[in-house]
Amino acid sequence: MALLTLSSPHAHGPNATSRIMLTVALATLPGLAVMTWFFGPGTLINVILAGLTAVVCEALVLKARKYPVGFFLKDNTALVTGVLLGLALPPLAPWWITVIATAFAIIFAKQIYGGMGNNPFNPAMIGYALVLVSFPVQMTTNWAVSFQMSGSEVAGLTDTLRAIFAGSADVADVYTGATPLDDYKHLISKETSDELLTRATFNGWLNGGWEWMNLAFLAGGVFLMLKRIITWHIPVSMLAALTLCSLVFGWDHDLYTPTWLHLFSGATMLGAFFIATDPVSASTTPKGKLIYGAGIGILLFVIRTWGAYPDAVAFAVLLMNFAAPFIDAYTQPRTYGHSKARRGLKTGK
């Protein structure tokens, strides 16, 4: 009787892609909770909407590609893309922006390249960049302000739903405002740093909601590191590069955004721990990860400081995605028994 003959190893560890992806999604929960607390239910609705759209789009494409739908949906990668996108979009962004961004991310940025594992760019960030470039107004003005900032209530569920699905301008006007990064960048030329920081947008350290949100994502990221799902390389090198740049160039707070604002405002921590670390499109060698992370940090600072956009995680990540394969080729580790590491992709002797 013929027995099963499979190649070794015959044992397999407990790791599973679907579980890893689910853990990533779960690790965003503290951040999501903080965002909901400070900015209203907008983000929560976005996340649900984006998650749903992502899963539906993925299923449709898989069906069209004649792939087993259930098997691939179970890997949870579409869900993660949707969740991250939902977190990144402005809380009161109209629903169609979320849907367009997510659909584009799944269909074009992921599946067209061959589906999971084959996309050279981070799908969530492609979707984000698309809507940011196409609908700049909606994307920059729909940031909800936290209750501490507005001094009033945070947008309620009905108001939020009206703003997102009916596009009610009145709601948006009441509850939205510029982000701290945006404000600082545009107002610093008119006021001194001290004056600026008394404004409602900033309202002092740990008072605006932004810091809490970033700390929550940091906590989620540390959790992922402890679970060994991500390594320290990319977040640490990215934050270190960002800090260094802002210390070197931005020491004069009357001219440039201060370091703490860089680190704890905008999408910095979400980017560092959840977006830049997307393994598929990032660098994979240890040294490469350091370079990759540092590149994102530097680009982030450059675009935030001198570019047209107040935040730039998406662009910084996408630009480094371009470079990832090249970085990998030049940062191969030294293999056991070799006196030095190989470089590049040349196949000659």
Binding site: L4, T5, L6, K66, Y67, F71
Partner: protein, 198 residues
Amino acid sequence: MSSILIAVIVLAALALLFGALLGFAAVRFKVDGNPIVDQINDLLPQTQCGQCGYPGCKPYAEAIADGDKINKCPPGGESTIDALADLLGVEPEPLDAEHGAEKAVPTVAYIREDECIGCTKCIQACPVDAILGAAKQMHTVITDECTGCDLCVEPCPVDCIDMIPVATDRSNWYWEAPTAGVELIATDRRPATAGGHA
């Protein structure tokens, strides 16, 4: 006036700079390859079977260099055509059936030695001198040298030469690539047995 002058000077300087750079790159990264005929010949399988219509691989390589089609070598088959197309920067074409079909498995000649009459005809036919023997002596094939070109089969007056497939043994067996997960599920098969590769 002066601004135009400055522009011209700057452009000229830039042109010089880039020209120098390009020149340097051309010298520094020059690929000094061997002549094209040798490169082509290196890609041909060296079976020396003459199926391409030339008396051996080298002559065919020369012919290709002179513009002949690249799809006339059956032993090389598709992979050789692709490699040639790559080298020469042309579109790969399907194998020209006129010259024969690609063999499914590599073969070697085997002389049924008790039938051999020692006519030496096969020795004369063998392009790589892989057959041993003298007149009226039994002949035998040095399997390691035989390219499987079939050329000795035809001249044998007593038809005692067979082309037999190269046997797979432990030394040339290897695992075949796993079936990708997608295909497995698509066909609802689980990997019952993982086969080997000859």
